[in-house]
Symmetry: C2
Amino acid sequence: MSIGQSIPRVDAFEKVTGRAKYTADLTDRNALVAKVLHSTIANGLVRKIDTGEAEKIPGVIKILSCFDVPDIEFPTAGHPWSTNPAHQDPTDRKLLNKRVRLYGDDIAAVIAEDEVAASRALNAIKVEYDEYPALLSPEEAMAEGAPLLHENCPNNILKHTLIEDGDFEEAIREPGLLRFDSVYETPIVQHCHIEPVVSFAYMEAGRIVVVSSTQIPHIVRRIVAQALGLPWGKVRIIKPYIGGGFGNKQDALYEPLNAFLTQAVGGRPVRLELSREEIFYATRVRHAEKIFLSSWVRPNGRIVARSYRALSNQGAYGSHGHGIAAKGTNVFRQLYQDEKARKTEFFTVYTNTATAGAMRGYGTPQALFAVESHIEELSLRLGLDPLEFRFMNVMPVGWQDPFTKNINYFDSFHQCVEKGRAYIGWDEKRKLYRNQNGPLRRGIGMSLFWYNTAVWPISIEISACRMILNQDGSVQVQLGETEIGQGADTVFTQLTADTLGIPWQNVHVNSTQDTDITPYGSGAYGSRQTYVGGAAIKQTASLLKQKILLYAHEYTRMPVENLDIIDAVIVLTSGNNRPLMSLAELATETLYSEQKAEHLTAEGTAQVKTNAFSFGCSFAEIEVDIPMAKLRLLNLINVHDAGRIINPQTAGGQVHGGMSMSIGYGMFEEFKYDPKTGRLLNGNFLDYKLPTTLDHPRLEAQFVENWEPTSVFGTKALGEPPAVPCAPAIRNALLNATGVAVNRIPLTPHVLFEEFKKAGLIN
Amino acid sequence: MSIGQSIPRVDAFEKVTGRAKYTADLTDRNALVAKVLHSTIANGLVRKIDTGEAEKIPGVIKILSCFDVPDIEFPTAGHPWSTNPAHQDPTDRKLLNKRVRLYGDDIAAVIAEDEVAASRALNAIKVEYDEYPALLSPEEAMAEGAPLLHENCPNNILKHTLIEDGDFEEAIREPGLLRFDSVYETPIVQHCHIEPVVSFAYMEAGRIVVVSSTQIPHIVRRIVAQALGLPWGKVRIIKPYIGGGFGNKQDALYEPLNAFLTQAVGGRPVRLELSREEIFYATRVRHAEKIFLSSWVRPNGRIVARSYRALSNQGAYGSHGHGIAAKGTNVFRQLYQDEKARKTEFFTVYTNTATAGAMRGYGTPQALFAVESHIEELSLRLGLDPLEFRFMNVMPVGWQDPFTKNINYFDSFHQCVEKGRAYIGWDEKRKLYRNQNGPLRRGIGMSLFWYNTAVWPISIEISACRMILNQDGSVQVQLGETEIGQGADTVFTQLTADTLGIPWQNVHVNSTQDTDITPYGSGAYGSRQTYVGGAAIKQTASLLKQKILLYAHEYTRMPVENLDIIDAVIVLTSGNNRPLMSLAELATETLYSEQKAEHLTAEGTAQVKTNAFSFGCSFAEIEVDIPMAKLRLLNLINVHDAGRIINPQTAGGQVHGGMSMSIGYGMFEEFKYDPKTGRLLNGNFLDYKLPTTLDHPRLEAQFVENWEPTSVFGTKALGEPPAVPCAPAIRNALLNATGVAVNRIPLTPHVLFEEFKKAGLIN
């Protein structure tokens, strides 16, 4: 059995030696180069575009502007299509936009022979605008009289939801309750995948082919067709290896425009690669949220009622929209359970900042920062131990979510916390770090977390798979689920090998998705791939095995029920697993049989109608230099119950990467806009501070393996959860060290200086 | 219905605009370049290879010689594997050969950074040989004391077969029989495909990938693995568009060596492209044959018995070997039927000329030249009309071949001859051209032909297919059967469209075969693809349709038996074909259904255990300039009964191309060797005379459509037959014009001068 073993990544050699081919490597040598002209105002209207001078530049092939594109508004979010209009994503942008909604909106595109000609042409295009004031926050955008970004959205509110569980007004009238209010703010941050947003497109027999660095090839196919007004079968998307996505590439970014551009030049290949700067302002970001939390608690620590009000900054276009803020509210509504009632309200609001979309955690990092900061303060104010206080109110074992039907089967929270508590030395250090008063102080803090696995019942969850038996008994696997650097192909290899009873070395996962031939899978998002793709693998491998054993029955005459495959050999289970014939022999005979030849393959679609809770916690230890207003991270552990762990090494890698993102989120990263023009000021790797190894302590990842009952292989979400809990754990450690409750991230010296001053720690 | 319509070739636009990607277009820009060192003797042993100087040349990466290759002898013929050793192809060559068997044998290979370094290195390698005399004909090779090319083949005979039908000795004793003997000789010729033999190879995750211009990707996969001693699943072959093959690429040519070379440099990409000169001497050719024919005939024209003895020149290595001569003998044994008995004997003999393999017609052009020349002379000598004489002895309607079980269902020969006779003006011109005696004389001649379809029961005949329903109701098709320029993808498109009931524009055949994911198909040879691939398409499309109609039943509640698809709409057949829903709606709903979602695909293997006769004839009119000994072709028609014609235009194209090849075979082409050294003297397009449009009259192609009863779509062989009958028709026209029976081709002025002199037409 390979499951549970740290087999080497199946793509390791290719990637380490630089041989793995990415989109840019595959681009036709003769491809034309496209570049996008971005608006230099944040809010307004393009009145006129003069391309006269630009068109004269040698090497310029064609210039297309927002006045030339089809009058089609299309969605970009990477969700499977729903035939129910109520479940469809916002359709609010064209291929190029006359109505400018962010500084850097796409208003024209140049196609040229080379980069230089394209760049020169961009500089030579003259644009005239009508300019409106830049609306950079939900509050500004919702204000009376603010210009509307999208006509059908009054007050620039894309969507507003209010949910009341229980009788809230009645609940808070209970005598003796203590009330706590706080407001939390999270920044706009970016995914910062290494490989840029890049694609190239060409036409083939009247159809458009886009090769793209995307997480969701099958979905991008649909969106490109929608954007261009084509039948969906007229579009083909190919996804090679990709260098990270983290949710940014769970959107159709520039594939639709790239498709349109090749169409405009009769199908000649056109490459569209964004610079790092463009990626910052013109792709997707994580929604900044402002969250108002209030709690009504009994003095003994039982929470009776809470209210939550969030303003989610959508930026210029709809993308994943309201679903992100909605998913965040699940943290509020489920992680801790109010005894009586709960009020949840959230607004997703268009502004003139970068379009917010999916990013690892999908609304949860924001909400969890608020919820876990708030719970920590409550415990302090109540004089209760933060762990005890949490467990008094946390989702109980056996609880079932009425919407997803998820059940909290095990006592995962306690099990995870025990591991984290032991590793960090919680009990000793909580004592040790009491009553510090020097300039350097230490603290420890923690955060629980919770996450869903896959997206049912919000969207359909299907994954199709095809397997092919080679003549040597090895197997090819095709899945629509995508390797995006996370190690999916390695895990798929293990699941296939064990289901079929063959060594993992005999499984070859076809890593390239090509919508012309790859079975449908929604792609890499929602921490769904091992859970949903695993179901497809189990179903398909079982079907293939059944076909194999029927042939084995023909060849060996033994009852099919008494046969099995162990280590690539057909064995007689009723006879001490006596070997009967090798799978290789069977495969060769079956393909070339004069009697009945068959190319043995299996294919099918698995539909998953469950969802599962992943759980865990993060513990952080920090040191703060109060005069310097500077934080140093000393120690960090994440403990995950992600169900059964298929590959401990790649699982650890997932957790390390997520912890790093969460450190950046808590301590370093944020978009800074010029408040007047709406121009992004730090959209590059010099000014936007990503954490590096120098900012990381040893990242400890531990697991609790409660095999998930709803999952074919006992697995559940691991892709996104690691990126969620570290920021609040660090923030709570700071509170522990200093007594200062900082309610906004990142915890940069600028913020700490202000907060320490306010608290009297700095004069 | 699209069948029977000349829909445009589905690859026309790509190919005409130069956009279609061939192997060379796809080669990695950084690929290393490999070149092969060919022997400069025809027969002998490599004693020593000194690569010292060559290795010092800058840019040279590695040099491998016949002393470095695995000790594995492998087969190269493009046949499906047989698990029965008696049906396996000769295994008689290594990747590089110490034992040199032709002038130009592969003895070493250079891998370098670029072409220049590789070429310089080739020149700097020093080789010492033991040289034996060059054996250039079967007679020389079979002579007592001739050195053996392959140790296990006494007298250099690869294989010898003798078949007696009836009691031959008894039959020829019948009193009053007239006996006629003659000897026919056909030349070595080459396929002369436009695209060279080219491949590139690299390694990926421990497996070898070869991208190659081949007709038979799935077979090449097996051979590469055999040659390198690898499990077959460790090899992946990708076949892009190819620029012709005609049987040369129905062999594993340099793919095994290319695979070995990338392995030798740790999997770096290596390109191996042959020059035109190398293709001539070092790939495959058509077997030259010398055929001894004798007939015993009653004066009334009934043939009583015949004997056939053929020497087939195999050249240096086994390749397709004895099967080619064997297939030729079917012409002798089946086209005309002896009343009493028949003796058939044939030898396939190794010599030191180019390796002979498959070429369009597969042994039939040689045998048919002999048989149809012989029958023509017999009719003359008997004073009978050649058409009447033929029909007196030709395979009768209703006759069944006891081996293949093929039946001659229709009176195709008469039907075809009537068309040819009318078009060429046979009756008038046979009269008109009597008793000519000027220097310019005209004549008409004809030839019947017969050909098998596909290769059962010689080999297994299987073809697997997969179809995928796109969300817009269009369909992807994957087949192992290969488009090699003949129009297969267009025909596959039509067959799929009509079976499913959708417009052909909604069918997208995936033209690239990739053995990792493409269903198994043996590939393009044996005129099998429409017949066998058609069966796979019918089976798969029917299965897909059945799945579609079951969903249609779910959505419409109508009985599935009352539903059909017409023009991409689900209709109620019992209700006047009332439209119920579009296939596009059904496809979208089925993929995204919350209740039961499925990516609708279908896949399966069709095994064909029949074979079918194709029939036809060729009529030629020529003018001969006797003093100049020069032939001019005035008029040429082929009439084919290839069953139902799927696409008249592409069918006509097939016939035109074949006629052109047969003209070259009859009039221009032959390999000329230096008799002493065995060096090919005319292996280039300057000295090897391919016919051009200037040598062609209008090529008339006509069809008789007797739908083949054994065929799923009524089709039978059309790929190869056109290349078979023109040479004897032209030769018989020359006989008609001059009375001179020339028994060897090509009919060049050199030959005609000699023959006319012998006949006293030239002094």
